[in-house]
């Protein structure tokens, strides 16, 4: 051991020996109740400790009728005892007294001390004759009222994070939109669990206020759901977020939640979807049965926003194939399982598709795009195989309902190199190929025959620094997108995220040509060519 190490150890031993002066204590303990649940005993102890301003412990005791958790003081001298009794009586707390010689197991014991004497078992307390006789009959009589157990079993948490985001674009937009786009976001998370954790409520509202884009100024209930966990099943009712898929550059088969496109064009921000979800956990896999209603429309940037089509999307006039509109009940059934290195998920979705098609409308005098949502049937597959450093990935779907039935897939691998060049850094190499049978007619994706190459760095440092850089290249049209995303924590409560995207390989859309070219599948990313940007986001977590 180095000098610093041994000095630290010596200091620690000193501190410990000061904190734990005696092993056996003569005295009396005030017991404020016994609980079946250790969790409840600990909560009650913490509450009492706060109220009485004195150390209160929870201790396991073994009785003929099983294990109880007793909430008690340390052994007290007569005078101390009277003082605590007075405060407790004043607060209307009931208690009983246990007398005897106590071995105190609750203080930290340095390894340098003789182990046997230092930490005798807690059970010894009850086997002391005087202690047993002092216990007043049934434990229930001494325990605080039943309702206390219920109160104590509930657990609430609230979190808030506030983000400051700036997007800086290389050029002005197609219609002269601003180069600088700041915004603020707030995300609140409230969680309450009760019934021994078997039931819970989660509420997560989100809001963003954008300086330029009125459509990007928006609010959403990301989550608002109740959960009940049984043996072999789980029930969730309310708005939730579910992600399905394995690949990195494209989230092809993910279908339950609508994309919150104004947040980010990477499709990783989603709107809360109201649903009833029943999960059945079996030895042969997990089956999810989901019924959804209250369809969520995709969000689109407004006229002053960036990363948008040259013609505005008029979300107020969205059309539905289904007569029930947003009220249609959509259903999905999914089976997922893993077997050694292989994980598989298969689902079938029947309902209103999340990807709209656009109809050009000139009736208002000005051209707008009207989103049309069609009823589809989609079967989706995701699979991942882990072999050594390699993760092989596949997502595939088959969709029918609107136009011809077609299939699409994303397949590839990620190879992780640990400790590259003797450093602490891990490097991941990602290669994925994306295919869509509809080719250039695929209106809802930029990826029909695209190859993605990426690198993922993980510095394994105290600040959790990671970065993912990549390029997605359309092998037929030569359009490409360069992406970068890097994260670093700044201290315990701040997170900095840097994102950048560069669009290239085709001509920017301008003027009257824009409309015609918009419908040209060979330069789908044309309208993004002027939207290269760097985004910096600082988030404070409370």
């Amino acid at each position: 051991m180095t000098r610093a190490g041994s000095a630290a150890a010596a200091l620690l031993a000193l501190a410990l020996s000061a904190a734990a002066p005696a092993e056996t204590v003569e005295g009396e303990q005030l017991v404020f109740g016994s609980f079946r649940s250790e969790e409840n005993a600990r909560r009650w102890a913490a509450e009492l400790e706060h109220g009485l301003g004195r150390e209160i412990r929870s201790e396991r005791v073994y009785r003929d009728d099983g294990v109880w958790y007793r909430v008690r003081t340390a052994p007290l001298g007569a005078e101390e005892r009277r003082a605590v009794e007075a405060v407790a009586a004043e607060r209307g707390l009931s208690f009983w007294v246990v007398r005897g010689r106590f071995d105190e197991p609750d203080t930290l014991t340095s390894s340098a001390r003789a182990p046997a004497a230092a930490a005798a078992p807690a059970a010894a307390v009850v086997t002391t004759g005087s202690a047993r006789t002092a216990e007043p009959g049934p434990v229930a009589a001494a325990a605080p009222p039943e309702s206390r157990e219920d109160d104590a079993a509930a657990r609430s948490e609230t979190y808030l994070d506030v983000g400051l985001q700036t997007r800086s674009y290389a050029e002005r937009g197609l219609d002269g939109q601003d180069r600088f786009q700041p915004s603020v976001s707030l995300r609140l998370e409230y969680h309450r669990a009760w019934d021994d954790g078997r039931q819970s409520l989660t509420v997560t509202p989100f809001v963003r206020i954008d300086q330029d884009d009125r459509e990007r100024t928006h609010a959403d209930l990301r989550e608002l759901f109740w959960t009940r966990v049984g043996d072999g099943w789980e029930l969730h009712v309310g708005a939730r977020q579910l992600f399905w898929g394995v690949t990195e550059f494209n989230h092809l088969i993910d279908i339950v939640n609508q994309t919150d496109l104004v947040e980010n064009i990477d499709g990783e921000d989603k709107l809360g979807q109201p649903m009833v979800q029943l999960s059945l956990l079996r030895s042969w896999g997990t089956v999810d049965l989901i019924a959804m209603s209250g369809f969520r429309e995709r969000t689109f940037p407004g006229p002053d926003g960036r990363l948008r089509t040259p013609v505005e999307v008029d979300t107020d006039r969205a059309r539905y194939e289904s007569g029930a509109g947003r009220g249609r009940v959509d259903g999905v059934i999914r089976w997922s399982h893993y077997l050694g290195p292989l994980s598989v998920g298969v689902y079938h979705f029947s309902g209103t598709g999340r990807d709209p098609q656009f109809a050009l409308d000139l009736s208002g005098g000005e051209a707008v795009l009207i989103p049309e949502y069609h009823v589809i049937d989609q079967t989706g597959l995701d699979a991942q195989l882990l072999v050594g450093d390699w993760a092989w990935k596949l997502e595939a779907l088959r969709r029918s309902g609107h136009g011809d039935r077609y299939h699409a897939f994303t397949a590839g691998f990620e190879r992780t190199l640990v400790g590259v060049l003797g450093s602490r850094t891990d490097l991941g190499l990602v290669v994925e190929y994306m295919y869509d049978q509809r080719d250039e007619a695929a209106f809802d994706t930029l990826f029909e025959h695209d190859l993605a190459l990426g690198g993922r760095w993980r510095l394994n440092d105290a600040a959790d620094t990671t970065a993912l850089a990549g390029v997605i290249w359309d092998v037929e049209t030569d359009e490409y997108v360069v992406t970068l995303e890097a994260n670093r924590r700044l201290g315990p409560s701040w997170l900095a995220v840097l994102e950048a995207r560069v669009f290239a390989g085709t001509e920017p859309l301008t003027g009257a040509a824009a409309l015609a070219e918009l419908l040209d599948g060979d330069s789908k990313s044309g309208f993004l060519q002027q939207d290269d940007f760097i985004q910096l986001e600082l988030t404070r977590y409370f």
């Binding site: 630290a8 620690l12 003789a114 948490e157 992600f243 050594g388 450093d389 990620e414």
Partner: protein
């Protein structure tokens, strides 16, 4: 966070290992039975948590080392399930501190390796990230990472044991301390440590991907708990020193360190682990509380 972040993770943290298979289970059970009988026979005079060592006479130093580690392993089995809170304090050479708090739940399986759930509580930007590990007696472990920002569960590879655990000076393999069959052993001798005797045992990892050429483990003889480990890098140079203290006895049987201190001798960085609030037999269910669904619910 994602792939490779948590590779091996605590695989066999409490002693369940991939290597060895059924032969190992049988050996373990045998060792356990022998240990229990010995414990029963000795219970009249041995203080709780202590037991006499198996008879080591007539063995080579290698067999002695292995026998001692088997006895240690069997003493640490049979806990059922447990929960514990862990605080990690990372310090660099200049003394800059960074803290992390994790909640850990663990359950012992009857015919398989342990299951482990680790939930990150702080720092807040990664709160809710969680890791689930099902270790297996045979074959690689199953591990999943939950990323709350995307509600995404990712199955991750469980190799690469030598990588740093959460940016600390602990490697994943350091937290698989009592993984008996993954090392070969040699009893080097006995020495005084504090008021008791300690055994110094050399162990050499079998894993070709280990970051170490060898380790020297100092075991407190009456209880077989770890007092100190000296780690040597692949070139045989001293790399790290681990000291464990603040031991407390639980359930009359399990000695748990409440503080571990790892110092990297080559970089001067240190990591302190503070274990808090051990709870045994809290009624965790191997299926309900250690499924990928439970991973998504964890907080």
């Amino acid at each position: 966070m994602g792939k490779g972040f948590f590779l091996v993770v605590l695989d066999g943290w409490a002693g369940r290992a991939a290597a060895g298979g059924w032969a190992r289970v049988c050996l373990r059970n045998l060792a356990l039975a022998v240990g229990l009988i010995a414990a029963a026979a000795a219970s009249a005079d041995a203080p709780p948590g202590e037991a006499p060592l198996p008879d080591l006479s007539g063995m080579t130093p290698e067999e002695q080392g292995l026998t001692i580690f088997r006895a240690k392993d069997s003493r640490e089995s049979g806990y059922g399930d447990l929960q514990v809170e862990l605080e990690m304090i990372l310090r660099d050479r200049r003394g800059t501190e960074s803290r992390r708090e994790l909640s850990i739940s663990q359950v012992e399986m009857e015919r398989d390796g342990d299951r482990l759930l680790v939930v990150f509580d702080t720092p807040k930007p990664i709160r809710g990230t969680a890791l689930l590990s099902h270790s297996h007696l045979q074959g690689p472990d199953d591990q999943w990472l939950y990323l709350p920002s995307m509600s995404r569960v990712k199955k991750i590879a469980s190799r690469n044991r030598s990588g740093p655990f959460l940016g600390s000076e602990f490697a994943y393999e350091d937290l698989a301390l009592d993984d008996v069959e993954k090392f070969s052993y040699r009893l080097m001798g006995s020495e005084r440590c504090g008021e008791a005797d300690c055994l110094r045992i050399e162990r050499v990892p079998h894993d070709e991907f280990s970051g170490y050429s060898r380790q020297e483990v100092l075991l407190h003889e009456p209880t077989l708990r770890v007092e100190r480990i000296d780690y040597f890098d692949r070139h045989g140079r001293p790399l790290k020193v681990l000291t464990s203290d603040g031991y407390r006895l639980y359930e009359d049987r399990y000695w748990k360190a409440h503080r571990m201190f790892m110092e990297n001798l080559q970089t001067g960085k240190t990591t302190e682990l503070l274990w808090k609030d051990y709870r045994f037999a809290t009624g965790l269910d191997a299926e309900r509380d250690f499924s990928t669904n439970a991973l998504m619910r964890a907080r």
